[in-house]
């Protein structure tokens, strides 16, 4: 028997009972539709979530600078080195910071008055920084302003307080130019950071932030210990590789880079989480569909016993009978899969449109889902087909009319 004839016989068999075929197909249709919607919506939502994550967090890089091996020699990263970093394509903003050695317990107070009843000294982190820090850490100013390049170049003795630091020091406004004293050195408070943001360095919330020039003059705060970088979307992995070389061409291997996770990995993780439950639901639907196909195919075999007997009398071998019923059930599964895939894709597009998302669908899913439907049909038709093939022609002819 030729393959084309097998296909023709199977199609004719499927088409001979259109209503039953449609109902049989329903199981595969529902299963495949559920699967496609699940995987499509998961991919779309994953892309959406990852996209938002990219915008706020996946663009931040922290380069930690260890102490130079030779304390008498030049530092691994200089304050001026930031200029080289900012020249890299994909760097949106960057700032160097250096925290004052906390073992020295820098005493910070809001005024020079000594009240025996009040604990005025606070052990707060004191940070020297370049200008532009708020933009890098996504920080905002609740009061006043951040110091700029002018303050830095003039070695102005100004300070910006984190929200918590300001609260601890009792400073609530800056328009009257309050001062803070760090180890007895006075700095004029020109700004207070807001409590939100700071996603790249939350410790700044409790810190006293000084221009690195004045901090070096007055408090002997040395070279940067950390460089914070804000990149353009999608540039983080590249900048994470390039930044150490730009900052310290000779000793870049000693710098430690903390880069955000690869967005693709993150997206995969989100998809995995979302898929978990719903793929199971889709598979359950497919199994139910398969059982439906198996049942109906079995009933069809019973109804077509006479036809099976006739075919055997005309010279059909057992494998011809089995193949015909397998191709019929596979065809039902394939058609259900194709329609289910189409419906699923339409549903994903509609859901995305309603939510204002960009629909994301793996092409292999569109190609693979109908094949999965056909496979379900074939598996479901296996037992009925084998039963049909096992029928003795004499019994089949006697039973069927």
């Amino acid at each position: 028997m030729r393959l084309i004839d097998l296909g023709d016989e199977a199609l004719a068999g499927v088409a001979s009972r259109p209503v039953r075929t449609a109902l049989t197909m329903l199981g595969t249709f529902i299963g495949i539709t559920t699967l496609v919607i699940t995987l499509g919506v998961a991919a779309t939502a994953g892309n959406q979530i990852a996209g938002r994550f990219d915008a706020v967090s996946a663009t931040g890089i922290t380069v930690t600078v260890p102490s130079a091996p030779n304390p008498a020699g030049p530092p691994l990263v200089s304050w001026a080195g930031l200029a080289d970093l900012l020249r890299l394509n994909g760097v949106h903003a960057a700032a160097s910071v250096s925290e004052m050695d906390s073992t020295g317990n820098p005493a910070v107070r809001a005024n020079e008055l000594h009240d025996p009843d009040v604990v005025s000294d606070r052990a707060l982190p004191v940070v020297a920084a370049t200008d532009g820090l708020p933009e890098v850490v996504n920080g905002s100013l609740a009061q006043g302003r951040f110091f700029d390049a002018g303050h830095v170049s003039r070695h102005d003795r100004v300070a910006v307080l984190g929200a918590t630091a300001a609260k601890l020091l009792g400073i609530t406004r800056v328009d009257d130019q309050p001062a803070v004293f760090v180890n007895g050195q006075a700095f004029t408070v020109i700004g207070i950071l807001g409590s939100s943001g700071l996603d790249l360095d939350h410790a700044l919330d409790a810190a006293v932030i000084l221009p690195y020039t004045a901090a070096a003059d007055r408090l002997k705060i040395g070279a940067p210990t950390k460089v914070l970088i804000r990149t353009d979307l999608g540039a983080a992995p590249l900048i994470a590789r390039q930044a150490p070389v730009a900052l310290s061409p000779n000793d870049h291997s000693q710098l430690q880079v903390l880069a955000p996770p690869d967005p693709a990995t993150l997206r995969g993780g989100v998809e995995h989480d979302v898929n978990g439950l719903f793929v199971v639901l889709g598979l359950v639907s497919l199994v139910v569909g398969a059982i439906g196909i198996a049942n109906v195919t079995l009933v069809t075999v019973m109804e077509r016993i006479g036809e099976i007997g006739l075919r055997r009398a005309l010279g059909a071998r057992r494998r011809h009978i089995a193949a015909q019923f397998l191709v019929e059930s596979g065809t039902v599964g394939l058609i259900g899969g194709v329609i289910g895939t189409s419906a699923g894709i339409v549903a994903v597009v509609v859901i995305s449109a309603l939510n204002g998302w960009t629909p994301v669908l793996d092409l292999s899913l569109a190609a693979g889902a109908p094949i999965a439907g056909a496979a379900v049909g074939l598996l479901a038709g296996l037992y009925p087909a084998l039963r049909a093939a096992r029928l003795e022609p004499v019994d089949a002819l006697r039973s069927g009319t």
Partner: protein, 223 residues
Amino acid sequence: MTDEVIKLAGVGRVFPADPPVRALSDVRLTVRRGEYVSIVGASGSGKSTLLNTLGLLDRPTSGSYQLDGVETAGLRDRQRTSLRGSRIGFVFQSFHLLSYRSAVDNVAMAELYGKADRKHRSERAAQVLDQVGLAHRKGFRPDKLSGGERQRVAIARALLGRPALLLCDEPTGNLDRVNTSGVLDLFDQLAADGVTLIVITHDEQVSRRAQRRVRIEDGRLCD
């Protein structure tokens, strides 16, 4: 090519039961090429078992059966199927036509499991339909045909592969007098053309149209 299309020697068929049912006993029958033989018997006489045996649809429990010179006793299922498909044409009482296929497609089915391609099958099927007087009905589905026409389609299907033997099981059992007469006339014509025919029937009138009559009683043949 042997002249004997069928040669049964001591064929018996016992169905396992309690007690065992002996459907055929020591059946001896030789049918030569071109013979028109009727096998007549009452209900339960073993007619159907003999037909199934002759049609290689069932295996005898004893004896020898040669079909067109081939001893069938030791054949495997696949070989029996191949022999059945190539040497025997069946005509059944209930026609056994596929309701979802046209007359010409039903006829062409006879060579579906052979090597002929679809175009050749369809051309041949149309020719044979013409031979049985149904050229004008070739596109009709069975439910649009009369009983006599359906049986003619079934006969055309049986003739398509030019079988060595045309085996007919109560071919007029579902037909009225007019259609019966038409089918029997067709058998006469086929016999005149040299087709080997065995008609199994309980109807004496039908059996009398054959050149040779064989009676079966309690599983035994008596001329």
